[in-house]
């Protein structure tokens, strides 16, 4: 396929791998965090880490939107979904995220009208088609998906649709990165910056990484060659003694982001004082809610959601995985009690979750021979 195959070329991959090998100092161990779950997925799907030298370690970061949703928010969503007047809509992955007592998929089997949609506009269409029901959209995601929720709400307002509501769980990318860097148990050499988020926010918000924390960052695309090139660029900065924000994904990411998208975010959303992250706890100014102008569409106000807080199961170490402190296989329940078909933690649910990506694609010792 044109414009895709070019970025999956095995020969170019091998050439880049050789350049990476030539850039690293043999005795040094490098830890580079890929922030975005989409990158984690690509790394495992294409076996990108197979092509890196042994002393270059990729650490998976907190940028999987499904993984960071705490159990209490799932339970609140299920409480809304169980109301008889409600058609509850969400993306497919969210249906399998376990709450304190089951997932939305279980609630659906118990009779809740839960439907999978592919876009918030699909949810809005359902609202138009079912004027006697109330359609709630479970919104998740970073600044990448928040603009589509915002535009949907603007359309709902313009069309005066009164039976459409959003249960907002949108989050922002910079606060969790700061929280990570303040944690003492993580030593990182640099970051692969999130490409999709950056199409909206641009590269500037990541300037604090080199400035305040002395960590190089390279904003990367999502094809395997993009990732190899970005790893090379981070290592090159380290070798040259440089520390800055570089943009590998220039074909999509403008340095200043997308001003129209940022304007609709500012119109529709406002920052919550704090928001709970799965395994990371409460982080201030890290979550979005509907602004006062859109309060009439806010499912949390409409249904007085219980606002439950549920502690993560003791055995689950999603928090440590999300922070990059442990590898998925180091979690005590990984692959035994916690599997994609019966997940305990969120990281095992979404294909962008580090645990699910490792379990589904990487679960094979690389050096082990196939005979």
């Amino acid at each position: 396929m044109r414009f895709v195959d070019e970025f999956r070329d095995a020969e170019l991959g091998r050439a880049l791998a050789a350049e990476i090998l030539a850039t690293v100092e043999p005795g040094r161990h490098y830890k580079v965090m890929e922030v975005c779950g989409g990158h984690t997925h690509t790394i495992y799907k294409y076996g990108v880490d197979d092509m890196l030298p042994e002393n270059v370690e990729l650490v998976h970061g907190p940028g999987c939107p499904v993984c960071v949703i705490p159990m209490g928010r799932v339970d609140d969503g299920i409480a809304v979904a169980l109301r008889p007047e409600v058609i509850f809509t969400c993306f497919g992955d969210m249906m399998r995220v376990p709450g304190g007592a089951g997932s939305l998929l279980d609630a659906k089997a118990e009779g809740a009208d839960v439907r999978m949609v592919y876009s918030p506009l699909d949810a809005l269409r359902l609202a138009r088609e079912n004027p006697d029901r109330e359609v709630v959209f479970l919104a998740v995601g970073f600044e990448t998906t928040a603009p589509s929720t915002a535009l949907t709400l603007m359309r709902a307002k313009a069309e005066r649709i009164e039976n459409f509501f959003v249960y907002c769980n949108h989050v922002t990318i910079v606060p969790p990165l700061r929280a990570l860097l303040q944690s003492p148990d993580l030593r990182l050499d640099g970051f692969i910056g999130p490409g999709h988020v950056s199409t909206v926010v641009g590269a500037r918000p990541f300037e604090f990484l080199p400035r305040d924390y002395g960590k190089p960052v390279v904003i990367s695309g999502f094809e395997p060659l993009d990732l190899l090139q970005s790893v090379h660029m981070v290592l090159r900065q380290l070798a040259d003694g440089r520390c800055e924000v570089e943009n590998q994904y220039k074909r999509v990411v403008p340095y200043e982001g997308n001003p129209q998208a940022l304007a609709v975010l500012a119109e529709v959303f406002e920052l919550r004082p704090h928001f709970e992250w799965r395994g990371l706890g409460f982080i201030s100014h890290s979550g979005l809610r509907l602004s006062e102008r859109y309060a009439e569409f806010d499912a949390e106000l409409r249904y007085h959601v219980p606002g439950v807080r549920v502690a993560d199961p003791k055995a689950c170490q999603c928090g440590e995985v999300l922070k990059g402190v442990i590898k998925p296989w180091e979690c005590k329940v990984f692959g035994t009690a916690c599997t994609p078909e019966r997940p305990i933690g969120t990281c095992m649910v979404s294909s962008e979750g580090a645990c699910a990506a490792y379990y589904n694609y990487g679960r094979f010792a690389r050096e082990r021979a196939v005979v």
Binding site: M1, V4, R8, D9, A10, G13, R14, Y44, K45, Y46, G47, V48, D49, D50, M51, G92, R96, L105, D106, K108, A109, E110, V117, Y118, D122, P224, K327, W329, E330, F334, G335, T336, P340, E341, S351, Y359, N360, Y361, G362, R363, F364, A365, R366, E367, R368, A369, V370, V371
Partner: protein
């Protein structure tokens, strides 16, 4: 590889090798997706209740093969076919891949109050046409009607009877290291055609269901490869990936699939890329996977390509010894990954 990681991986394989137990409190849509939840339902609840190891798609009895299948596809009509054609071809194909020449079908219809006579007539005609083209008779049947809202127009169940072909010596546990893996045509078309026909995506592409009888392919394979043919499977729900996983488990072998050799039409690749799904997991209704001894691979492939519409048949991989039960993919990029059974349900009610 650190030994601790190696130990963690070995523990996982031991857990996975245990017979599945059905511990769910209720049925969810995942139980119908043909992946892990379906396997748990079959091997954890149904098979033990009947004192057998697994529920095969078709069973053999005194030189005959017997199979049954229900069809609940939504929408009833889609580009390239309809529920009636699917109900005939699906059952005929279960017989064919068991190495049995399809003889006859029974037909059971569950109809919804309010279904238009015109739609019903169209499906009955589709059933008659598909049966005629597959060379089977519809020889007995049943009809039931349920209240409006209790089923989506119609559900169809067909039971098929076939005669085992004397050339066939097939079995899911008969794969040997070195065997070659063949597919009979481009993959993923049925699932993508249904998905696009539902109109849930603002996406249009000229993709049609591949529903057709696979007996001509099986006949050609048996003629060319005879007892060098180890096993044939119909890659329906869960796609080629699920079939390969089932065979690797049943035979206790490993498999390596070369992604670049798998035939996928550009329209299907494009739709899959946009939707974020892997064509290896998308359902087919007219694609078989065959494992064949290495020295017969070439003639078997030539036989598949000689069947009308079979030009894209391809050899996609090889059976290995280690690690048993695992299907691995060599990516076009040069890396390697596991290709596991499907979890969850990207496309409910495709057949």
């Amino acid at each position: 590889m650190a030994t601790r990681e190696q130990q963690a991986l070995e523990l996982i394989e031991r857990v996975r090798a245990k017979p599945p137990r059905f511990r769910d409190t209720q049925i969810t849509m995942a139980h119908g997706a043909g992946g892990k939840a379906t396997l748990t339902l079959i091997e954890g609840l149904l098979a033990p209740a009947f004192g057998i190891e697994t529920l095969a798609d078709a069973a053999t009895l005194d030189g005959l093969a017997l199979t049954t299948d229900s069809f609940v596809v939504k929408p009833l009509r889609f580009p390239g076919g309809s529920i009636g054609e699917l109900a005939v071809n699906g059952t005929v194909n279960d017989l064919a891949v068991a190495g049995a020449r399809p003889l006859a079908l029974t037909l059971s219809l569950v109809l919804e109050e309010g279904l238009s006579a015109e739609e019903l007539r169209a499906e009955v005609e589709a059933i008659a046409r598909a049966a005629e083209s597959a060379g089977v008779g519809v020889i007995a049947g049943d009809t039931k009607v349920v209240e409006r809202g209790r089923c989506d127009g119609m559900y169809v169940t067909t039971t098929g009877l076939g005669r085992l072909d004397p050339r066939a010596t097939l079995g899911p546990a008969s794969l040997r290291p070195g065997d070659r893996l063949l597919v009979s045509g481009p993959i993923g078309e049925h699932g993508i055609a249904i998905m696009l026909a539902r109109g849930e995506f603002e996406l249009a592409a000229p993709v049609e269901s591949d529903t057709h009888s696979l007996w001509p392919e099986v006949d050609a394979l048996l003629d060319a490869a005879g007892d060098a043919l180890r096993c044939i499977r119909d890659a329906t729900r869960g796609g080629v990936a699920s079939v390969l996983n089932e065979l690797a488990r049943a035979s206790g072998v490993a498999m390596i699939v070369r992604e670049a050799h798998v035939p996928v039409r550009a329209e299907v690749t494009g739709a899959c890329e946009i939707l974020g799904i892997d064509p290896m997991y998308v359902a087919n209704e007219g694609v078989l996977v065959a494992a064949v001894a290495p020295d017969a691979a070439e003639v078997a492939l030539a036989a598949l390509r000689s069947v009308p519409g079979g030009a894209a048949a391809a050899e996609i991989g090889e059976v290995k010894t280690e690690p048993p039960g695992l299907v691995l993919v060599e990516t076009g990029f040069g890396g390697r990954r596991v290709m596991d059974l499907l979890v969850g349900d990207p496309l409910p009610r495709i057949c």
